[in-house]
Amino acid sequence: MILAQQADNLQDISSQTEGHILIKVILILLLLLVLRAFLVQRSLILAKRLSAIILFLVLVVLVIFPEVSNWAAHRIGVGRGVDLLFYLSHLFLLLLIVGLWRRINVLTDTMTRLSRQIAIYDSSKPEDRNPAHK
């Protein structure tokens, strides 16, 4: 009886570790996909490429050894590693949004000036369309 229970427990533990490995593999694959999608941009400057790769490596380490994030969190006074990552990702996303927003503003500005110049260049006077006008 006891033995059977112990065997059950063991099975539980082994399926758990299998689960752990599975989620780790999935996460790393996803990270790889994101990294690839980022790096295929031809116009990317070297500094951005390098920081993307470094960020990727850090995240892979965190996926494989989640305790590292706990350790880092405790060092700076945050309760759990997950919380620390949560804060950092929020900060990162906010920065990203501000950057995108500024870029959209610049783009809109450029688009406006382009449309304006085209409109003025292609403008037609009354007499252009109908000689009877004026």
């Binding site: 449309s115 409109a119 003025i120 037609s124 109908n130």
Partner: protein
């Protein structure tokens, strides 16, 4: 000295059903007006309806907003050596005879003449909530620019060319009204209000600014524009 050339700048976005009538009314009022219609990427027959009229026609490739269309028309009019530029709406809310009132203010020596619904002529048919918001906009303008005016969001304005060259419009959408006022304050231009009558027709009410849009305007002012 010859008469100053008066240029009427009209931004138009999907005003197909009504723009011909608006232009005819303007031309009938004064044949010597140079009329500039800026089509802001309309998807209806605004361009087709405008093409037949004796006006200057400019077209934005895409819809950029009323502020952007105004700025385009103004730049064009100034390039054509306009002496006076009047901004006018395509939705038949404004009366051509009020242009004379604005221009006469310029002749009195002011740089800018601003149309006001609350001056002289008794305003009619302004929806109550809109009225309250317009009053709030006046207070907002006083606080942010120091300008003392009675109507902060009236698109009916007249400018002398030299003053207009100093005004920079960066707000593409609706916040340009407030922007023009702060530009007037920044450049210390001499401004004067003149009473104009705004016709609140069913068409204009359906097309015009929804009241909720004032929140958008505030948001645009806080975030948009140049960097």
């Amino acid at each position: 000295m010859s008469e100053p050339s008066i240029w009427i700048v009209i931004p138009a976005y999907n005003e197909g059903p009504i723009i011909k009538g608006v232009l005819e009314e303007l031309i009938n009022h004064n044949q010597s007006y140079n009329i500039v219609v800026v089509d802001d990427g309309s998807s209806d027959d605004t361009v087709a309806a405008t093409e037949k009229m004796a006006v200057h026609l400019l077209r934005h490739s895409i819809n950029l907003g009323q502020g952007a269309a105004l700025a385009t028309g103004i730049e064009y009019a100034l390039k054509q050596n306009a002496d006076i530029v009047v901004t006018f709406d395509a939705d038949s809310q404004m009366r051509p005879e009020d242009i004379d009132k604005l221009v006469s203010k310029l002749n009195e020596g002011f740089d800018v003449a601003l149309g006001s619904r609350f001056l002289g002529v008794k305003p009619e048919g302004i929806p109550l909530v809109k009225n309250i918001l317009l009053k709030l906009a006046v207070v907002f303008t006083k606080l942010t620019t120091g300008l003392k005016i009675t109507d902060a969001h009236n698109g009916f304005r007249a400018f002398r060319a030299d003053a207009l060259r100093k005004i920079v419009i960066t707000q593409n959408r609706m916040a340009h009204s407030s922007e023009i006022l702060s530009e007037i304050a920044r450049n210390k231009l001499r401004y004067k209000e003149a009473g104009v009558k705004i016709r609140y027709t069913e068409y204009s009410k359906a097309k015009g600014q929804s009241i909720l849009n004032s929140i958008n305007i505030l948001y645009e002012l806080l975030t948009g524009g140049k960097k």
